[in-house]
């Protein structure tokens, strides 16, 4: 099985809305050693101008994962998950994610490259809030190792 080069340019439907919970933000913050009060204390977050606790920057991956799952499960994609290695990751924010946000992610495959026996698949997940406004674009490059 090899990666289908025609994946390039393919988009997937928006994911089901993900409701960002305050305790989830706190749990994620603890897991990434994020101790700033804005991640844990709603009063501190409000004093800084946010509606509720602020998610650490990489929390966006939780929402992005739901979008990437569509690509990995695409029967025409030819991506064998057991051969996938995470190559690069980027987050570009319009604003931070805060508890209470209802987020959807829309995935587009921006590039498929073959390097020797390996393939590099790059995809953008555009994460938007309930009003449809852009929150963050999460870009992942996945290296799919070829048969040895």
């Amino acid at each position: 099985m090899s990666v289908n080069p025609e994946l390039q340019g393919r988009s997937y439907p928006p994911t089901a809305p993900y409701l960002v919970g305050r305790e989830k933000v706190r749990e994620f913050a603890r897991a990434v050693f994020a101790t700033d009060p804005l991640h844990h204390d709603p009063e501190a977050a409000r004093a800084a101008g946010y509606a509720d606790v602020v998610a650490p920057p990489t929390f966006a991956v939780v929402v992005q994962e739901h979008a990437l799952a569509q690509l990995l499960a695409d029967p025409e994609g030819g991506i064998d998950f057991s051969r996938v290695v995470h190559g690069d990751q980027r987050f570009s924010f319009s604003r931070p994610i805060v508890a209470g946000d209802e987020l959807t992610a829309t995935l587009t495959v921006t590039s498929v490259k073959t390097l020797g026996g390996h393939a590099m698949v790059t995809a953008d997940a555009l994460v938007a809030d309930a009003s449809g406004d852009h929150v963050v674009t999460a870009t992942s490059s996945l290296v799919v190792r070829g048969d040895e």
Binding site: A31, V54, P56, T58, V62, S92, P96
Partner: protein, 140 residues
């Protein structure tokens, strides 16, 4: 809690550094919090069966903690407007001794209204992330 001013920065300044002690507990905690339950992050037998030198930290855990010294320095995660890394080497987490990841954050570039902070992230004397850069919004 006031953020540093752009005018106070010089390219090359070290603005933050920190050590993070990872244990197997840290990996299980991150698995639960993130939903990434790939067993190479908690099972030695599976890690060995796919040819890894041991149980590895999630790349996204390393990415997640590496930006924290920058967040603490600017005092507001909302000032981080862009953050990227390349995963270049794995962090092997020993079941007994764990692993220590060291982060050094330096000013890489100063733009209008923002600074690019370059992160050097090392484990056992070798860098584990490449092109690790966080762009933070700051006032002049």
């Amino acid at each position: 809690m006031s953020a540093p001013a752009l005018s106070s920065l010089t390219v090359g300044d070290v603005v933050a550094e920190a050590d993070f002690a990872l244990s197997r507990d840290s990996l299980v905690r991150y698995a639960g919090a993130s939903g990434d339950f790939n067993p190479i992050h908690y099972r030695d037998d599976i890690a060995a069966s796919v040819g890894l030198p041991g149980v590895l930290a999630h790349g996204m855990l390393t990415m997640g903690l590496a930006v924290q010294p920058v967040v603490d320095w600017v005092g507001d995660a909302g000032r981080v407007v862009d953050y990227q890394v390349r995963f270049t080497r794995p962090v092997v987490v020993d079941p007994v001794d764990g692993a220590v990841v060291t982060v050094v954050a330096k000013v890489g570039r100063i733009d209008e209204g923002a600074a690019r902070i370059d992160l050097t992230v090392t484990f056992a004397g070798e860098t584990v992330l490449g092109k690790a850069q966080a762009v933070v919004r700051l006032e002049a």
